[in-house]
């Protein structure tokens, strides 16, 4: 018998990579599972079973945190997917100053999130911020963007979209430019309009790009922390707390075991939402 494939390299060569993976990924993961069940002061620890999980779930702000995290993830994800698609399609077509416009859209992604957060929280100041002073100039009294408990979370989500839509657009541009021009030519011969081209060719055929955007921005939204911390610190009160900011507050208070338990919960929560979503999206891609 002739073997068709020859094993060129020995599996032993995986060892260094595996060791790195073990030391920097597997080991911390297992350890964090362990430390989430301890009362931990960095130097010593007591094993206390599931008490940390119990405490974390009885956290007053946790209900708000779960709801906010979901709202935040869904809102930012939807806007990035939709806006990114239109921007991507627009910037792939023949428009003047295309490259300039592309860089304008991409520019916010290059900025530090903290800097963006601080800048926007100044612009959103209820009476002195540039947003409300401009609104006042045309006779509209703007709300307190970050102080009003009903809209504070959405204000932060808006900034997140402003900052993140550039990445989505780039992914869409890549996806759209991979569509064979023959489809568009065929459509033209059949007398289709630009609108037909967008809805019947661009949208369905950029589906793989859309799925990447959905997954990336949804998981990013679930784990989001830096922007909310820079803009509201979870306040006023607890109204804009996300799971990640609740965890950070525990850590800040020196409750390391409790914060670790929160992270394990976040990890499990993100997995429970993200894996089925990914499966679903992957399946719908095949059906194309």
């Amino acid at each position: 018998m002739i073997r068709l494939t020859v094993k060129t390299y020995s599996y032993w060569f995986l060892l260094p990579a595996f060791l790195i993976y073990f030391v920097f990924y597997l080991l911390p993961t297992v350890l964090s599972l362990f430390f989430s069940m301890t009362r931990w002061t960095l130097t010593d620890w007591d094993f206390i079973g599931f008490d940390n999980y119990r405490t974390f779930f009885s956290e007053t702000s946790l209900n708000i945190g779960f709801r906010n995290t979901l709202i935040y993830a869904v809102v930012t994800c939807v806007f990035k997917v939709v806006l990114g698609l239109f921007l991507g399609a627009y910037l792939s077509s023949r428009v003047p100053f295309k490259n300039y416009l592309r860089s304008v859209v991409f520019f916010p992604t290059l900025l530090s999130t903290i800097a963006v957060g601080i800048a926007f929280s100044m612009m959103m100041h209820p009476s002195q911020g540039i947003i409300n002073t401009s609104l006042a100039a045309i006779g509209i009294t703007g709300p307190d963007w970050l102080g009003n408990t009903k809209i504070a979370l959405l204000s932060v989500a808006f900034v997140d979209v402003w900052k993140g839509v550039g990445i989505a657009t780039v992914i869409y541009i890549a996806g759209i430019s991979a569509i064979s021009p023959e489809y568009y030519e065929a459509l033209k011969i059949d007398g289709g309009s630009a609108r037909n081209a967008f809805w019947n060719i661009t949208v369905p055929l950029s589906r793989p790009a859309m799925n990447s955007v959905i997954i990336l921005s949804f998981i990013g939204g679930l784990r989001s922390f830096d922007l909310i911390w820079a803009m509201t610190k979870g306040g006023p009160g607890f109204t804009t707390d996300l799971i990640a900011s609740i965890i950070y507050k525990q850590y800040q208070a020196g409750f390391y075991g409790l914060a670790t338990a929160g992270n394990v919960i976040l990890f499990i929560g993100v997995s429970l939402l993200a894996f089925p979503l990914y499966k679903y999206l992957a399946r719908s891609e095949v059906h194309l």
Binding site: W12, L19, R39, G235, G237
Partner: protein
């Protein structure tokens, strides 16, 4: 043939791993060492004490660092010990840094850090040198010592003056409007109404910096203690709660009443501490529940306005109960596991000596009376500080709760923002805080929780 190939692969993999480990080892080798050479060890015995360098970890906000540098300059002349400064951030970030550095054995020789509940969280007996039997301890007031005592041993010396928490007010505006200092909460609310009617902000609220929202609750502790002397003890033992002790609940209710009266500045959620100080100094805002450490900052930015600022205690419901809640100064602690414990001990001894304190208070304007005997307030002390002195003289002071109980929930500032801006009712806020406290006590593994 096949076998040799496998061995070669294994050997190659092993080599890679070894190279990797060697790389890591080289990296960590330098990290742990710390402050390097402990003086040139030529050690020919000479008369002058050997030049030594110790490190001090201290926060950078306020005037303490500058004042300590002044002491260090004097100490270097006298003791031949120079100081290397190890600057840490303040607030919760600094707390974490301190805990991490202690845990990794990388702490400076001397640490300047909070007293009271935050100090208790550092595991003092394991980390710091016991100073109980040092001769200078006799000169330090017991009210301070209890805040740096753990298991009956004293670990720290004070870095400065006390501060009070109360209602800071603009005396000029008070005079203009013909107001008098309120002795009861009802009088305070009446003053607020008059100030509001005059078109000024009655109570300054700066909830953009969330920590400033806690004062109505924290500065009310004198009133709680006056009505319920065992509150701190019972509270630490999980037998008294904010929500179920009427005297304690009042703090949250007062916060709510001020919000409901509409006495706060517009945009209070977007207003910062610095804005608040400016409003107080300029008299657009008339009263500010705050710690007197704010006096330093007002003095830095508005030196000509500093004597317009006064302070009165947070009023209680009875005119007979009227006293100040006092915050103790930070402490200096000597790292037990440091390399230069003896030099650090000498330095600390100099720091609390009359000479050291003279150098210190030359730079540090007092925010309240001192806690070392024979260190008196200078004549040029701030007007507000002089206004505090009578309460101290008459014994009408109480240390803030965080200095007499290790229990303090980390989320108080968020809860007080919620109550103070009408999101949460006072009673709910108090019970939220009780839950927060329970979590902290469990994490500290206090008995009875």
């Amino acid at each position: 043939m096949k076998k040799t190939k496998r061995y070669t692969a294994f050997a190659a993999a092993l080599l890679l791993v070894l190279a990797m480990l060697a790389g890591c080892g080289g990296g960590t080798g330098n990290g742990g060492g710390g402050n390097g050479a402990s003086g040139t060890d030529g050690s020919a015995p000479s008369n002058a004490p050997k030049k030594e360098t110790i490190s001090i970890m201290v926060g950078s906000t306020g005037t303490l660092l500058d004042a300590m540098k002044a002491v260090a300059a004097e100490a270097e002349k006298k003791l031949n010990i120079s100081v290397e400064w190890d600057i840490k951030p303040d607030g919760a970030e600094g707390d974490n840094l301190v805990k991490t550095r202690l845990a990794t054995g990388d702490m400076a020789d001397i640490l300047a850090y909070n007293t009271g509940s935050l100090f208790q969280a550092l595991n003092p007996s394991q980390n710091f040198v016991d100073l109980t039997n040092e001769p200078y301890m006799a000169d330090i007031l017991d009210s301070f010592k209890q805040t740096v005592t753990s298991d009956g041993k004293v670990y720290g010396v004070p870095t400065g003056s006390t501060r009070a928490g109360g209602i800071m007010y603009n005396k000029k505006v008070y005079k203009e409007l013909g107001l008098t200092i309120p002795k009861t909460w009802a009088e305070f609310m009446a003053n607020n109404a008059k100030i509001k009617a005059a078109g000024k902000t009655a109570v300054i609220a700066t909830y953009k910096d969330t920590w400033t929202s806690q004062l109505f609750v924290l500065a009310d502790y004198y009133n709680i203690q006056a009505q319920d002397p065992d509150f701190a003890k019972n509270y630490t033992a999980n037998k008294a709660k904010y929500a179920t002790t009427p005297a304690a609940l009042r703090g949250f209710q007062k916060l709510e009443e001020v919000y409901k009266g509409g006495y706060m500045n517009k945009d209070f959620l977007a207003t910062t501490y610095d804005n608040g100080l400016k409003m107080l100094a300029e008299g657009t805002g008339v009263q500010y529940p705050m710690l007197t450490s704010a006096l330093d900052e007002i003095y830095q930015n508005f030196p000509d306005k500093i004597n317009d600022i006064g302070i009165f205690p947070e009023p209680s419901d009875s005119p007979d109960i009227n006293g100040l809640t006092v915050w103790m100064p930070n402490g200096l602690y000597i790292n037990k596991n440091g390399k230069k414990v003896d030099a650090a001990k000498k330095w600390v001894e100099y720091f609390v000596s009359p000479e050291g304190q003279a150098a210190l208070s030359g730079k540090l304007k007092a925010d309240g009376p001192f806690v070392i005997k024979n260190v008196k307030l200078p004549d040029d002390a701030y007007a507000a500080v002089k206004e505090m002195q009578p309460y101290f003289d008459q014994g009408k002071t109480a240390p803030a709760l965080e200095f007499v109980s290790p229990v303090k929930g980390p989320n108080l500032e968020n809860i007080t923002v919620a109550v103070g801006s009408g999101i949460t009712p006072a009673a709910k806020g108090a019970s939220d805080y009780d839950k927060d406290v329970e979590k902290q006590a469990q994490q500290l593994n206090l008995p009875g929780w």
